[in-house]
Symmetry: none
Subunit: 261 residues, 2 copies
């Protein structure tokens, strides 16, 4: 189901309560390319229509969800499982950030190991005996002043980190949409055009300040990293704003000629 | 409100639809130490009881939420604003991952600059003219197979990255020599001045192209991250280049009066 060519971790919800939250989990799994959802003793049974209503079309994660009576069975095939908790518990398991966990899960997936992320129910979270079935603890860096993190949000952050880790520099894909900056010859043309018109308009005074004024204008425009198209646009702007003055002079000359002639 | 000693970015929701989502945004802001929530034209008005019901006790973010009629006013005091979109748009603004954006926001906060993250409404997202008011685009690495990301999830991932970035590296001051960028109210003033003069100069033709021409000019100027001093300089540029036209009209009027009188 993923575009990443790597098996994504499954998501195990232990004793989830609200069908809406299960649906929201399915939705956000789909957002980040996860699809294997496992439910251990969902409070209101399964399936629940309200789950599909809140999945916003990510039905496949819910359609394929598997239900288990025991957590041990839900994770039986996995070779790396992390328990997600709101605060680190007193266990001797390693405690990882979502990012560190994602790196480990990614490496395990690359090795062909089935992996999973375990989440507790909305109210109680995970018991220590549930956590003890896992290889480590993932703790999201919540502000201690307000720890009540929504279940689907906890899944979102871990799923996001997993996908971010897998994706190889997503930025490069976007870079293709972005036109390259103009070359410095085009920029020099824009600078010269602007400065000529400003000179004609009497902008540079006192004259001994001109060099620093010119430099400041160039720096600001260079910082914009204008594209070739944008350079043309700005040259059009300079022309449009300046043409009044040209017209003034032409008009004055014409009128003078008329009167004088 | 945060334990990080750094001012967190504000969250601006542009035309949010569902009060439940606004409440969920408030909740997840509190999870990650954000507290300044701004609403632009919430569809069902404000306040809405259902928002508080879905905030799970993070009431303070909602109690203090500010409502604006115009996006421009909601971001007027900010010096760095990123627009969050599900997919990179065809603008010439830089595209960042949530992590890259968090690093920039963090550095700006360390320098004392007010910052913000802008999110569009549930259905429509952000329009390009909204995005053109920002300094960059943040794109969450969604699986292209299922892009429908819940609004509160989008806020969650950016808020999480902001907090993770703050926790990861104790503040290194932004380059102390660098003057802060102008606030968005100053930029709006420059945009309006330039556009008024261009309109008077007949630059915007055909007229139906004006919105996209305006948007392109704003994007390029925003990208330059002008300082207040540079904004003043560019307003001087616009004035200097435009004054010929004023003089033309004044001269023509005077000459007409002379001749006619």
């Amino acid at each position: 189901m993923s575009d990443t060519d790597l098996a994504a971790p499954c998501v195990i919800l232990n004793e989830p309560q609200l069908a809406e939250n299960i649906g929201a989990v399915g939705r956000v799994m789909a957002n980040f390319g996860l699809s294997d959802l496992r439910l251990v003793r969902p409070r209101d049974g399964w399936p629940q229509e309200r789950a599909w209503a809140s999945a916003s079309g990510a039905d496949w994660t819910l359609n394929d969800a598997k239900v288990f009576e025991r957590l041990e069975d839900a994770i039986a095939d996995l070779r790396l499982v992390y328990a997600t908790t709101a605060r680190p518990r007193e266990t001797q398991l390693p405690v990882l950030t979502p990012r560190e966990a994602a790196a480990e899960l990614n490496a395990a997936s690359a090795a062909g190991w089935p992996t999973g992320l375990l989440f507790g129910g909305e109210r109680a979270g995970l018991e220590t005996h549930d956590i003890a079935l896992c290889h480590g603890i993932v703790t999201i860096p919540i502000d201690p002043k307000f720890r009540s993190l929504n279940l689907a949000q906890a899944v979102a952050i871990n799923a996001y980190e997993w996908r971010q880790t897998v994706l190889d520099r997503p930025r490069e894909a976007f870079a293709a949409n972005v036109a390259p900056p103009a070359d410095q010859a085009s920029m020099a043309g824009l600078h010269a055009h602007l400065e000529t018109e400003l000179e004609a308009a009497g902008f540079f005074h006192p004259p001994d300040k001109k060099p620093s004024m010119v430099k400041n204008l160039r720096v600001a425009l260079n910082r914009a990293r204008l594209t070739e198209q944008e350079v043309r646009t700005f040259r059009g702007v300079v022309t449009a704003l300046s043409k009044g003055r040209g017209r003034v002079l032409a008009n004055l000359a014409a009128q003078k000629a008329e009167r004088g002639g």
